[in-house]
Symmetry: C2
Subunit: 456 residues, 2 copies
Amino acid sequence: MDRVKVTKLSGFPEYLPAERIVEQHFLDIIRETFELHGFTSLETRAVEPVERLLGKGGDADKEIYGVTRLAQRPEDRKDSEAELGLHFDLTVPFARFVLENAGKLAFPYRRYQIQKVWRGERPQEGRYREFTQADIDVVDIGELSPHFEAEMPLVIAEVFSKLPIGRMTIQVNNRKIPEGFYRGIGIGTDDVTEVQSTLRIVDKLDKIGPDKVKTLLVEAGRTAEQADQCLALAAIRTEDLSFVEQVRALGVEHPTLDEGLEALSAVIRSGLVNAPGAMVADLKIARGLDYYTGTVYETQLEGYESWGSFCSGGRYDALASDGKTTYPGVGISIGISRLLGLLLSKGLVTASRATPAVVLVAVADEESRRASDAVARSLRARGVACEVAPSAAKFGKQIRYADRRGIPFVWFPGEGDVAHQVKDIRSGDQVDADADTWTPPADDLTPTVVASTPSP
Amino acid sequence: MDRVKVTKLSGFPEYLPAERIVEQHFLDIIRETFELHGFTSLETRAVEPVERLLGKGGDADKEIYGVTRLAQRPEDRKDSEAELGLHFDLTVPFARFVLENAGKLAFPYRRYQIQKVWRGERPQEGRYREFTQADIDVVDIGELSPHFEAEMPLVIAEVFSKLPIGRMTIQVNNRKIPEGFYRGIGIGTDDVTEVQSTLRIVDKLDKIGPDKVKTLLVEAGRTAEQADQCLALAAIRTEDLSFVEQVRALGVEHPTLDEGLEALSAVIRSGLVNAPGAMVADLKIARGLDYYTGTVYETQLEGYESWGSFCSGGRYDALASDGKTTYPGVGISIGISRLLGLLLSKGLVTASRATPAVVLVAVADEESRRASDAVARSLRARGVACEVAPSAAKFGKQIRYADRRGIPFVWFPGEGDVAHQVKDIRSGDQVDADADTWTPPADDLTPTVVASTPSP
């Protein structure tokens, strides 16, 4: 069965044991934090009808992986069977799940979802075809209270504060600010699509710089003065509430702008109280997707701004609708694989060992393996992960076996008058020990994952 | 985007919040137990080259979901790009991962893998198209020590002893016993494939009964006497080592039979010492798949034997081979979705609530939401999961909000001289409390998942 060539698939990352321990540590912290905030877990199926996947954005079809039963000829497919594709995000399946189960869910429905998604994009640094996302959303029926827009970034700030990474800054804006501002300077008066197209051009600011943005804006029909005003708005970035004055100083008036400033102030004010230093009001943040209608979020890792956003989201008035009922929501999504791709490739994070085992129980000879098994059983009964040596090799070889995996302790079972002993193979210290009471230092009990100095 | 019809997909189960909490509890216990035994986590990509997936078994192609980029026309596919399919088990991707990373792995390599798999089968009770499996395997280079065959069912027995389910019995056999026995009575003397075909017919015993098995055996060319002997062997089932005598009493001799009896005795002996009552020597267990060469395992839940095996596996001499090096292994796989499908549909297990939150912090009015947020922050800092009420509705309504989700405590923030209070909404008890020190009873801290009496 295995003579078939072994092929790496570009864009489908897989982790070796020590890297996977880093990933698990990240996923555990994310899950734990989401649950502390009362989000319930959801896992949706990997496939959705292609029709539903296509509904989201005009060019989404480029990214979708279709799924078909190989043994089923196309002509055998019943009309009632939908064409299926792998989900490319967790929002589309979440929206479908809400519509499908609305009668069985309690609203506002707070859910988290940590799953793989698939996109048929050309793989490149930090872009994968299969990757893991961790989303939180709150969705309600009819109306959604604005305080949830302030809550989302606080949860995310707590996640980032617990992860062994550098400083993450959550950049927050409100779509009503640029929309109101643009209208206030005459954009979209005749043609409302001008507002969206202006937003999309300004969204490229980080990638192409202000000069090119201005050129594009003018090409798109804005006046040079309008373009300068748009750029002046996008340049505003403050850690406190002073963005309001700075916007006011541009002299533009519009009721939507007022609403946006008030809403963003509420979010930033909450950040100043609950998570000082984690958020910044950044008025260039737009998010490409049309369905955001209020607060929008992006997140940068200090020193790695060029990698773009690792965590994004926003408020949408209609996450889902069945024609009668509309479900507004707000959500944010952490791009775990992108973040780990950066951290692991740059050597910014490491695991203390490549296995959960903290102890290797040595085996003197195969006849006494049962005694070693008994030691392991005692240790495990008290939550100490361990492994029994695979063979009764010379103790030196058994120690090297532990060393190769980073297992810090080797246990030598005693017999009769000979006491059991445990050796810390890092220090060489070896002491008498009782398998019914001995515990490793708390720092060693499970693998630790720490930020590390990047390799030069 | 959401006017597209919402469609349930048959065979793709999805859980509501309380059911998902049950699933998470099961997955957590499984992971924790695997890690206590020093298994390292592996996650492989969801897709493999179809060629590799097809390599495993003759009729596997019927089950495979092919994966193609929708935007890519077939004629644009480069010859170097392999045709891809979703994995239908975790063994094929594990074997490929071992071959691909042999130089970077430490052997014997102990890995666990908990992931979804996909099969295009016709969905029916307990059979899904997307389902979760939890596998452990130990794989070594060249040779694998037999004690690993005794270890696998011990790990599984520990998992089942920690899950809130009825009594699971791990049925163990060794393929060498029927193989040696069959040869000892003259099956396979002229044509070795007779041994395999006999094994496959006897494997149907539970489904079709001894009479039909005998008919099939005779139709396949066995004598009536041989068929009776095969059935006599298959009828042997003992909790202790007495199966050896019972086999000997059948008066058949063959060196392979001796090897098998010795190997199975070692596994059962280890079970008697380490997990009394968990295992049974059951000589009818065959496992359909050709690649098993030693110990084989199946597992039944008492009272639900007709549901078949929830956990199966065995020893294989060649999990993987690159032509030069062969990797023997032993593994066992828990069918989580099948098990949960039974337990949830029969009401055999329930979660104490539908959310991780143990406390709902009430909100007196929107102006004082900040005070409620502060209480929540204090509770969370000490690991108490909570949620702040979504609106400053009447307290009665806020209590009903908690009740609907099964949140047992509602916190009423104090102010000035008025003390904070916490109410157990199950008993109605309401007491003064301090958000910096109060903790819920240990049993309430996280949702509990317990076996329940089946609904009539």
